[in-house]
């Protein structure tokens, strides 16, 4: 946890001959010219016990103790702590200390960066950060939209009736990316299909996207990537935040957040979200609702305790979502007379985190607890799915250093309890999982080379012992050139029903797998990141390549039988190659541009031969431009994404023929938004799919939804055309806490 690199630079700060110790604490920033001071960082001398907090400009002062040398510990919420040996010489010099943002347990991440989207240079792993400024660029609505201005994560519509969206990394389904909420595994199990909707965008403070297998500390399920979501923190979030949103299709949304302090050590945050799609939308006149009607509610309440020796957090989250889709003639109850889609998902969730700082500096113990209960009921025409999951999770981490902060380690144990029940028509898939595990991770932080080496072993009550080693390396060749390499293993137990529930929107029958066994993959990758200056402005170019190879996988085969969707364990080869090149450049203070190109080669055994996975575009281009006026009162941004050809599954057509379009056409997606800032108010107006590109006839045989040729899963582009939305944000900042140093 105490992941530190420090830059001690002596700077002129002479101040008489009083024996005082002075310095400034900054947070690390991507731009070397910009230094952001850390307010309220704790500075403490271990032997003498003297301590102080930094001022708003990051400065601190201490009385130089008589007994020297002493060890000074610098810590701040959301940053990794650091130590410096203080000697007698230091009384005439000042310390310039740089703390780095920490994303590990149990502390909190503060995205203290200016660039709204950036590669975190210091991380050994390739981590992209999306800050709240970047999240504001796509104003609607929840997590699935949060990735719209990002090239690494793709968001796909899964079918033409349920309105569900799923993410993809490296061309691999979202289930192979571990999504976690503040380092707690989050959207898994029953939430793999509709879970992205359960996290409103206005709750999110920042998102970190790690490519490749992540750290071993947070579990075994990150196979293609790891997405960590940081929600707003009680002590830093807005005192009051209100957001309203409405779009052309009648979707309305309201968000309310508030954070405040309860005494000196406690703080609390309250979050509420409600949205509604009240009107029927059928623009392509196929008799089906293009967007399901429905409403959802989400509330979240969190607490934070910051004491001298311990830190604790706890929170409660409840979510309820109901949707009604399908034919416009569907009344919500009679599934026999019209094709209807009814999805009802709910969860309640509680988490707690406790962290104890041990007497030995930079040693601590963190424990995370999470319990969750969720249900999903989904009707797709005559198919009915019911699912419930009870989940418990505990993760205990001991964090320490060996001699100094160059060598750090984490060891710990985890336990997963998951009681999942799934029933789809006559198929049943109930499972009780109990998975105790142990892990160890060593981090070396040298001047140029840094390395994270981890190993975890888990004992699954059904599938036995599984291990997952992971190695990440980073070498800084120059001040601006970083090269990274990673290799690691991940595994998960598939839930073929909920993971593929959108495939119920078809007349094809499902053929269940004979056996279910864990999916296992190895991921190898590397990246080069070069920063540069051009015409006095900073930019960077990053190229990364990842290869994922499955040892075992649940294959969803739409090729072997035109009348069925066949689930089977992998027999042969399955892999993904992903290459991405991204160029980011700030043209002056006001304009930021980003270009990206991605190439995906995802193949597996389908229909007995090795061929490209369906619905994955091989090429994708991305361009984003952001503009801010000099008085910062107007912000504008635009994103253009171009999706290349993707292989399409073959489907039977009514009357005996088959579909002949082997590949989907190339299509663009354009979105743009303009924001006006007026004191505490922000007003925004934006558009999605501004090219008005729509897939014609997304549903095959829409007239006969109960026929075997009906299919609503062949969706490769938006079903609805241009969307225009408008909204406002009103916020009152959290007043700064005036801290009197506790000496």
């Amino acid at each position: 946890m105490k992941y530190i690199i420090l830059g001690i630079a002596f700077f002129a700060c002479l101040h008489g001959a009083t024996a005082q110790l002075k310095g400034v604490v900054f947070s690390h920033s991507a731009d070397p010219n910009q230094k952001i001071p850390i307010y309220n960082a704790k500075v403490r001398l271990i032997q003498s016990g003297e301590g102080a907090y930094t001022e708003e400009d990051g400065t601190f002062e201490l009385i130089l103790p008589k007994i020297l040398p002493d060890t000074m510990v610098i810590s701040a919420i959301g940053f990794t702590s650091d130590t410096i040996i203080v000697t007698k010489k230091d009384r005439f010099a000042g310390f310039q200390i740089t703390l780095y943002s920490d994303q590990l347990l149990p502390e909190i991440v503060v995205a203290a960066k200016r660039s709204s989207h950036s590669i975190l240079r210091l991380k050994t792993l390739l981590v992209e950060n999306i800050s709240s400024d970047e999240l504001k660029k796509a104003a609607c609505c929840n997590l699935s939209e949060s990735f719209e201005t990002n090239a690494s994560v793709d968001v796909n519509i899964t079918d033409a009736v349920s309105g569900a969206k799923k993410i993809q990394m490296m061309g691999l389904d979202g289930v192979y990316t571990q999504i976690q909420f503040e380092n707690i595994p989050y959207l898994r199990g029953l939430e793999s299909s509709f879970g992205l909707n359960s996290m409103p965008g206005t709750w999110v403070e920042s998102i970190q996207i790690t490519k490749g297998t992540g750290n071993v500390v947070n579990g075994y399920e990150s196979m293609a990537g790891l997405v960590n979501i940081e929600l707003k923190k009680p002590e830093e979030m807005e005192r009051v935040f209100v957001n309203g949103y409405v779009n052309r299709f009648g979707r309305g949304e309201i968000n309310f957040n508030s954070g405040f302090r309860l005494g000196k050590k406690w703080s609390t945050g309250w979050f509420a979200h409600a949205s509604i799609v009240p009107f029927e939308v059928d623009e392509n006149k196929d008799g089906f609702r293009d967007i399901p009607n429905g409403s959802n509610l989400a509330v979240f309440n969190r607490y934070h305790y910051q004491g001298k020796k311990m830190e604790a957090q706890l929170g409660f989250n409840a979510y309820w979502d109901q949707r009604l889709g399908g034919q416009t003639s569907f009344d919500g109850t009679n599934f026999a007379s019209a094709y209807g889609v009814l999805i009802d998902s709910k969860h309640i969730d509680a988490f707690a985190k406790t962290g104890f700082f041990l007497k030995k500096p930079l040693h601590s113990i963190g424990v995370v607890y999470n319990v969750k209960y969720q249900t999903v009921n989904a009707n797709f025409g005559l198919h009915e799915f019911t699912g419930s999951e009870k989940r418990g999770y505990v993760n205990a981490i001991y964090d320490g250093i060996i001699n100094n902060s160059t060598h750090k380690f984490k060891v710990g144990m985890s336990g997963v309890y998951s009681d999942i029940e799934q029933q789809m028509d006559s198929l049943n898939n109930d499972r009780l999982e109990i998975v105790p595990g142990a892990f160890g991770e060593y981090t070396f932080s040298g001047a140029r080379l840094s390395a994270v080496v981890g190993l975890r072993g888990d004992y699954h009550n059904i599938y036995g012992f599984q291990y997952a080693p992971r190695v990440h390396l980073k070498y800084s060749f120059t001040e601006r050139l970083d090269v990274r390499a990673t290799v690691g293993k991940g595994w998960r137990v598939p839930n073929y029903m909920i993971d593929n529930i959108s495939l119920l929107a078809t007349g094809r029958s499902w053929i269940a797998p004979d056996t279910i066994s864990p999916e296992i993959s190895w991921n190898v990758g590397g990246s080069i990141s070069q920063g540069f200056k051009l015409w006095k402005n900073a930019g960077s170019i990053t190229a990364d390549y990842f290869h994922t190879r499955f040892e075992n996988q649940m294959i969803v085969d739409r090729d072997v039988n035109i009348n069925a969707i066949v689930f089977n364990s992998l027999d042969g080869t399955s892999y993904s190659n992903s290459l991405q090149v991204e160029l980011a450049y700030s043209a002056g203070k006001q304009i930021d541009v980003r270009f990206a190109y991605k190439w995906l080669d995802v193949k597996a055994m389908y229909g007995g031969i090795l061929q490209t996975k369906v619905m994955v575009p091989v090429h994708r281009g991305f361009f984003n431009i952001g503009y801010t006026t000099r008085n910062k009162r107007w912000l504008a941004d635009a994103t253009v994404s171009v999706f290349g050809e993707a292989r399409m599954p073959q489907n039977a057509l009514p009357g005996g023929g088959v579909t002949t379009d082997e590949f989907s056409p190339v299509y663009p997606m354009i979105s743009a938004q303009i924001t006006h800032v007026l004191h505490a108010w922000e007003f925004y107006l934006g558009g999605e799919n501004l090219g008005n590109f729509v897939q014609r006839d997304p549903i095959i045989d829409a007239q006969n939804p109960f026929s075997s040729t009906f299919d609503a899963t062949r969706v490769w582009a938006p079903v609805v055309g241009m969307n225009i939305y408008a909204g406002f944000r009103f916020s009152i900042k959290q007043p700064k806490r005036e801290v009197v140093p506790e000496l």
Binding site: D57, R630, K632
Partner: protein, 109 residues
Amino acid sequence: MILVLAFVANSASAQELKKVEEVKIQTSAKCGECKERIESALNYVKGVQFAELNNDTKVVTIRYKTKKVTLDKIKAEIAATGYDADDVKALDAAVEKLPMCCKPTHEKH
């Protein structure tokens, strides 16, 4: 258009009243919080096109329309925010309201 105007205005003779003026004012700002306070106060003054404070020198650069606002008024606005603006001293009442680190009594390296 504005840029062109500013350029033309700058090269014109001093007697003429320029339409758009750019000035630099030394302030008593101290930290990033001060920068935000001064900039957000000035950016909402009618006639001010933009205000940017240099964090190192604490000099604020302001471009404004001479017909809508005067230099004295801008300085008064800075003073009312709690900071010295060249020769104009900060208003005591406003200084009182500043957070600790922004106050002039606060020691600075």
